[in-house]
């Protein structure tokens, strides 16, 4: 068994070396797949903070993913149509700048997570799962029936949004942006997990009564974790929309929430790099099995079933023991 840190190093090296090799060999499609991995991994990292560390099984994280996507879609569609999004107090016609869009996606994701979390965290266990699922569906149906931004058909953004000093239309440069964002968030999450807040959150999952006994309020810890988690997933949603240059209610669908959980579990729940491994495996399987058979979801289902029934701890769990005491 390796140390978890060794596994993380190998994963990180793979994340950068595979697309760089593809770039040297002139295989842009592989770079796009790697970009997809980085973005979905980012969404999974967000979910992992709530699910893996906080023990909050949210089946509604597609809400934040979709909100991030629509933050990008709304801002960029106004900018491309020169149609002011705000007329008072000052005129503003949206933006095509990624950092500004990210800021909106993060804030919108955090606000949605604050409202959904404040309500859902009043419940626990199986109620929490169902309530988060229902809130996710609420956004899904709202996006379908609200005609202003494409309704069921979604929104197309014709040119990928810009990033100062880089050409985002070049696959390897866009990959680099996504991968750097992913690494920054991984670093941030590792700091959060090691902080007093992260330790208290972890403790609240393991033994709520003891956390209460030392004077901490589990509800508040969980709500903060849920908000950070929603913000990260919202940011991933904005990047995902930029990857596809398209937003649609599918980003809000509950299958999306399910897939996010699948990334976290396949990789290893509560492991820092678990979602990265899970997303990489998922995208690889999707591409490989999807080429073999139209019915590749059957194989995915069987694989997932086998992992849940017989290989708990996911791939990182199978490769590495936990660092430190656990």
């Amino acid at each position: 068994m390796m140390r978890e840190r060794t596994v993380n190093g190998i994963v990180l090296a793979g994340l950068w070396l595979i697309p760089l090799t593809a770039w040297l060999m002139g295989a842009p499609f592989t770079i796009t797949l790697a970009t997809k991995v980085a973005i979905l991994a980012l969404a999974g990292v967000g979910l992992n903070l709530a699910l893996g560390i906080g023990g909050l099984v949210s089946l509604g994280h597609a809400a934040f993913f979709g909100i991030g996507g629509y933050a990008m879609g709304v801002l960029a569609s106004h900018a491309q149509a020169f149609d002011p999004i705000l007329t008072a107090p000052f005129e503003w016609s949206g933006t095509k700048s990624m950092p500004v869009i990210w800021l909106f996606a993060i804030v919108a994701g955090a606000l949605a997570a604050l409202v959904i979390g404040a309500l859902s965290l009043r419940t626990s266990g199986v109620y929490f799962i169902m309530v988060t699922l229902a809130f996710g569906q609420m956004f899904y149906y709202f996006a379908i029936s609200w005609p202003a931004y494409g309704g069921e058909d979604g929104l197309s953004i014709y040119v990928r949004n810009g990033f100062p000093g880089l050409n985002t239309l070049d696959p390897i440069q866009f990959f680099a942006i996504c991968a750097v964002v992913l690494m920054a968030v991984l670093w941030l999450v590792s700091r959060i997990v090691a902080s007093p807040f992260g330790l208290a959150l972890n403790a609240a999952r393991q033994s709520e009564a003891r956390v209460r006994a030392v004077g901490l309020e589990p509800y508040r810890l969980r709500l903060i974790a849920f908000v950070i988690s929603g913000a990260i997933t919202g940011l991933a949603g904005a990047l995902f929309a930029d990857l596809n240059r398209f937003v649609s209610p599918v980003m809000f669908s509950w299958q999306m929430s399910g897939e996010l959980i699948v990334f976290v579990i396949l990789g290893g729940v509560g492991r820092l790099f678990g979602p990265v491994v899970g997303a990489a495996l998922f995208v690889t399987l999707e591409h490989w099995l999807g080429g073999l058979s139209d019915y590749w979801h059957i194989y995915l289902g069987v694989l997932l079933l086998l992992v849940v029934l017989f290989a708990r701890g996911g791939i990182v769990g199978a490769l590495a023991r936990r660092d430190g005491h656990d």
Binding site: Y127, I129, V269, G301, L304, L305, V308, L309
Partner: protein, 303 residues
């Protein structure tokens, strides 16, 4: 809006609520007795609808289609329980969510592989295809009225089954204290299989009955599954009575919200904007209802 039109919408709401109850009852029963959250319940609904459509097309008999739906869903439920679900009772909810999510993928793609992506059609039997005149001059489709009657009858039968029969005693005992029931010599494993198959059969029946007024297609189960979740969260998980009350509330809110909200907004908005805002809000109405119930009673009305 006239009184007749309103009464018609109330009946529509009752009809969709009572069909929702058939799906929600199995979900809440399985959770109450086994402590299992089953995302694949919607797949059993779909299996029932496909079995009914296939058998009805083959034999020409709607009734045989219903029998096939009950049998196929119960058999699929029992099979899944023995092969997969049984291993999940002792696991945490996260594992249950994932494993049953995997089952949805397998069921959906399996049915797509067997029947193709195009919807099947299940015809309403001729005897029930016309309207019936109800007191007050309401002409209401006979088939939908039959759905309300059948749904109420099944709800009553389920209530009697749980309150009066030996199986019902065992189910209630299993809910209360699993070890004690096993110690008294009840084969708890078989009981669980029976309860799961019973819930599956109810979902399959609902799928077949509703399939005749909607199209029978892959993915039809998931919207119903989510409505059923909302229903049992409102009613209180594990409570059959809660499922009935929750289902009727959800059915009425969904149907009446879709009709009344655009009209309400029409009072002070332009018609096109009122239609858009009203229907967008109506699509969220049941979730707002659920949030309201949870703020008031976090464990549901009867939880």
């Amino acid at each position: 809006m006239t009184g007749v039109l309103f009464a018609e919408q109330v009946l529509n709401g009752l009809q969709s609520g009572i069909m929702l109850f058939l799906t929600a009852a199995g979900l809440t029963l399985v959770f109450g007795v086994m402590g299992l959250i089953n995302l694949a319940h919607g797949s059993l609904y779909m299996v029932g609808a496909f079995a009914a459509a296939a058998v009805a097309a083959w034999t020409g008999s709607f009734l045989l289609g219903l029998v096939a739906a009950l049998a196929a869903a119960a058999a699929a439920g029992a099979l899944v329980e023995v092969v997969v679900i049984r291993r999940l009772y002792a696991r945490d909810h996260l594992d249950q969510v994932l494993a049953t999510f995997a089952l949805i993928l397998i069921f959906s793609e399996g049915v797509r592989w067997a029947f193709g992506s195009f919807p099947l059609f299940l015809d309403i039997p001729d005897a029930l295809s016309g309207p019936v005149m109800l007191p007050g001059g309401i002409a209401y489709p006979a088939y939908r009225l039959m759905l309300i009657v059948v749904g109420l009858a099944v709800a009553g039968g389920l209530g009697l089954l749980i309150a009066k029969t030996r199986l019902g005693v065992r189910i209630r005992a299993g809910e209360a204290d699993r070890e004690m029931v096993a110690a008294l010599g009840v084969d708890i494993r078989r009981l669980y299989t029976v309860v799961f198959a019973l819930g599956a059969a109810l979902a399959g029946l609902a799928g077949a009955l509703v399939g005749a007024i909607q199209s029978v297609q892959v993915g039809m189960g998931e919207p119903v599954l989510i409505l059923a979740f909302v229903t049992i969260v409102i009613g209180g998980i594990g409570s059959i009575k809660g499922a009935l009350v929750g289902a009727l509330l959800v059915g009425l809110t969904d149907t009446l919200g879709g009709v009344l909200l655009p009209l309400l907004f029409g009072l002070f908005m332009a018609p096109s904007a009122a239609g858009a805002t009203g229907s967008a809000l109506a699509s969220m109405a049941i979730y707002i209802l659920m949030a309201g119930v949870l703020i008031w009673r976090p464990r549901g009305l009867f939880g």
